[in-house]
Amino acid sequence: MRSLRIVFAVVVVALAAAAGWYFLHPRAPGGENLTVYYTKLDGTTLGSWQVSTRTAQPGEESAARLHDLATYAAVQAVAGPPPDIQAVRFPSGTRVLDVAVNGPTAVVDLHMGPSDGGSFQETGEFKGLVYTLTGIPSINAVQITIEGRTVETLPGGHLELDEPLRRSDW
């Protein structure tokens, strides 16, 4: 009988804590968070942080919203996490020129900053970008273009970029 009381008390406390977190936790406008991934300095493990997105505007088309969401996600992923976080980052000067969503594929057009990094850097930077974009519902692949062109690899690079990248590529 005494043990039943203890169990009951634990359940009540847990419910109270959950309710408090739900009502007191600051939520993004529109209630939508986006997970942005980055690759840690071990070259393989992913880390992430959350960013919030704006609420949907009245009459906003879903395709337009998806485009905005993908663009926002790509920009955040290329920018990388806050500077105090150890992460594999795109070379300085890299920026997103455009993002288009064609069915399940997000096409990300990039301007790449100068780099002579090896496989380590390519692996890390594109892995974070692809994981971020494919975290958006309906997107499962990312096609990289450079200055509007499809390239097979970066100059002197190793990663194949002429085909859409998927999470299964890692």
Binding site: F120, E152, L165
Partner: protein
């Protein structure tokens, strides 16, 4: 508590039992030639006995038998030159071994225990011609061959160590030789009818501790015979029927060599005097003098793309050549009764040759071995001053000769019998090839290499693409350096190696991009270059593709070695490669990483890209600067390739 203690006790008992039955160090003593010999580097593995090659007693035994052991760490092979003379060859991890041209099945594969190689004891003893039984190592007469040529014949007896026969009966119709301390299991009687020998009886008596074997010849009237010869390790007697003189040993042996028999350098004086009692000579262990010298071996390319290997020989010699069918594509020629002037030679060549090796394989034989790019046309031309081997660019089929013999020097001759459909000859390491091309495949992994002995090594970047450049180091230069080192090691181990580049140039030099694209810095040439590297591997049906790189990052933090792979069939190779490199302790082990890298994704075969170390990390930079470190890395990569070949052998093959 009692139950717990009982379980622990049982586990301990099982462990102790397993430990003592699976591998148990031991000593074994035998009586050998009226003295005792104790082997101390002995282990018992699964009921079979293994002996370490550093065992002092084994070395003493080999010396007593007139044999010498050599361990070649490069290709993990134990070679034992016997008094016969022939070479016994054991390869680590290979449960087949060779005795001369014969291949035999061992009880288990030789293995490494620490730095010492352990060989199957019984097989080793059998190959040496001694039989371990009843606490005795009994020397055996292992073969008696009668080679008849009309009215002449030569009887050759072989066995453990140098055989000394003593004539105990010599009448016009009967000749008996006794071999004291030698037993035999040979068939007791045979009819000969050659060279005046009607019958030959082989009998044995005494105990295993004190055996005696007798060769008894029943001779036709007027048969003459020479005194026996045993200086080379074999016991030989020449006979002549109908009053004809017994053959001079040297010319007859030369003719035997032409016929493909083992070549010997035995010089004897023709005499009809009664055979004297043969006693041991202080020079009994010394090799017979060679008559010829291989002075030079050179390679030149002709206008039609074919290559010519010119072997300069001074003196008279016989030769024998063999070539293996695809996918082995190897050729070797043994120049008998010859010494190699200078040291051994080993070098990579361009198509249609892959590699060239020259070495003295035994005191009497110089071997020139070629790895070929394919089943190319090949011509062997003897002359008074040597042999020329022309390797053409056209492919040949089954009708091409696979072996031949001949002589050079004062008498120049060549004999190339039509090929048989029987199994191909043993390769230069003694391993045999079934010749069944359909058996060469990676069963469960789905890739079928058309050349399982070929490894493609890809030095990353090169030419316009310098890769990562930091300080005085350029990735394109470092990768070529390490790749060449890997190439040399693999060739020394018997692999064929194809490099995607051997100099600092683009692999695909054909520009395909538009000027506009080039101006922007993003063109297709880079990928064309990578595809060209894959094409080299794919078109040659190589077994493995290994790309060597140096890593870099925008800061100096990351360091270590990473092995990248992409396809499922790449993963075992990546794991083994990473393990072997990590074992070498050359850099921090960053493990294996799956990544859609171009060269691994587009290679048909198991492929990996090895980022050896970071140019951007000070510690790794210092390592990459060191030629010694790069040599060690190359060694580790080669070891990984060998290890993979052992763990994932080609189905149906005994070769690595």
């Amino acid at each position: 508590m009692n139950r717990f203690a009982a379980r622990i006790g049982s586990a301990c008992a099982i462990f102790v039992l397993l430990a003592t039955t699976v591998v148990r160090a031991d000593t074994v003593s035998y009586a050998f030639e009226r003295s005792s010999i104790t082997f101390t580097h002995i282990t018992h593995t699964g009921g079979a006995t293994a002996i370490g090659i550093d065992d002092p007693a084994l070395r003493s035994l080999l010396k007593a038998l007139g044999a010498a052991l050599t361990w070649r760490a490069g290709d993990r092979t134990v070679l034992i030159a016997t008094s016969a003379p022939e070479v016994i060859s054991f390869g680590v991890g290979d449960d087949q071994y060779s005795i001369g041209a014969l291949t035999a099945q061992a009880g288990f594969a030789p293995y490494m225990n620490g730095t010492e190689v352990y060989l199957p004891f019984d097989d080793l003893m059998r190959a040496l011609g001694v039989a371990p039984a009843g606490g005795v190592l009994e020397r055996l007469l292992t073969s008696v061959d009668v080679e008849g040529y009309g009215p002449q014949a030569v009887v050759v007896a072989r066995g453990g160590g140098i055989l000394h026969g003593r004539a105990i009966g010599d009448t016009p119709d009967h000749l008996v030789y006794e071999f004291d301390g030698v037993g035999t299991t040979l068939a007791p009687e045979r009819t000969v009818n050659a060279g005046g020998i009607r019958d030959l009886q082989i009998t044995s008596e005494g105990s295993v501790r004190d055996p005696k074997t007798y060769l008894s010849f029943d001779l036709a009237p007027n048969t003459r015979h020479d005194p026996p010869q045993s200086g080379s390790g074999e016991f030989e007697i020449a006979f002549g029927a109908n009053g004809s003189a017994p053959p001079l040993m040297e010319p007859l042996r030369e003719s035997l060599a032409v016929a493909g028999a083992a070549a010997l350098a035995v010089v004897a004086e023709a005499t009809t005097a009664p055979a004297p009692v043969v006693t041991a000579s202080p020079l009994a262990n010394a090799p017979a003098a060679a008559n010829a010298t291989v002075d030079s071996v050179s390679v030149s390319t002709l206008a039609d793309g074919s290559e010519t290997v010119a072997i300069g020989v001074t003196g008279d010699a016989s030769y024998e050549w063999h070539r293996l069918r695809a996918p082995d594509d190897r050729f070797w020629i043994d120049i008998k009764n010859a010494q190699l002037a200078g040291g051994p030679l080993e070098q990579a060549e361009a198509n249609p040759l892959i590699a060239l090796r020259v070495r003295q394989i035994d005191p009497q034989t110089v071997r020139v071995a070629l790895s070929l790019a394919g089943d190319t046309a090949l011509a062997v031309s003897p002359s008074a001053s040597g042999i020329t081997v022309n390797v053409g660019t056209t492919m040949v089929g089954e009708s091409a000769p696979r072996e031949g013999t001949g002589t050079i020097g004062a008498v120049v001759s060549a004999n190339e019998p039509q090929p048989s459909i029987t199994p191909v000859p043993a390769d230069e390491y003694g391993a045999s090839n079934s010749g069944d091309d359909t058996s060469w495949k990676f069963g469960p992994r789905g890739y079928v290499p058309t050349n399982p002995k070929l490894i493609v090594i890809d030095p990353g970047h090169g030419g316009d693409d310098r890769g990562s450049v930091h300080g005085d180091l350029q990735e394109a230069v470092l990768t070529l350096d390490m790749a060449k080192r890997v190439q040399s090691i693999l060739i020394a181990r018997g692999w064929q190696v194809k490099m995607t580049r051997t100099t600092d140039h683009d692999v695909d030099a054909t520009p395909t991009s538009t000027a506009e694209a080039k101006k922007m810095g993003y063109d297709n040439d880079a990928a064309d270059d990578l595809q060209a590297r894959d094409d080299i591997a794919n078109e040659s049906g190589a077994r493995l593709f290994v790309s060597i790189h140096c890593n870099a990052y925008i800061n100096s933090g990351p360091n270590g070695t990473t092995v990248y792979y992409y396809k499922p069939i790449d993963q075992p190779l990546a794991q083994i490669m990473d393990r072997d490199i990590a074992m070498a302790g050359l850099a921090k082990d960053d493990g294996i990483v799956k990544e859609h890298l171009y060269v691994t994704a587009h290679a048909d075969m198991p492929a990996v890209l090895i980022e050896t170390a970071f140019l951007t990390n000070p510690g790794d930079y210092a390592k990459l600067s060191s030629p010694d470190w790069r040599a060690q890395m190359a060694q580790a990569i080669a070891n990984g390739i060998d290890q993979y070949a052992r763990e994932y052998p080609v189905v149906g093959s005994t070769q690595q």
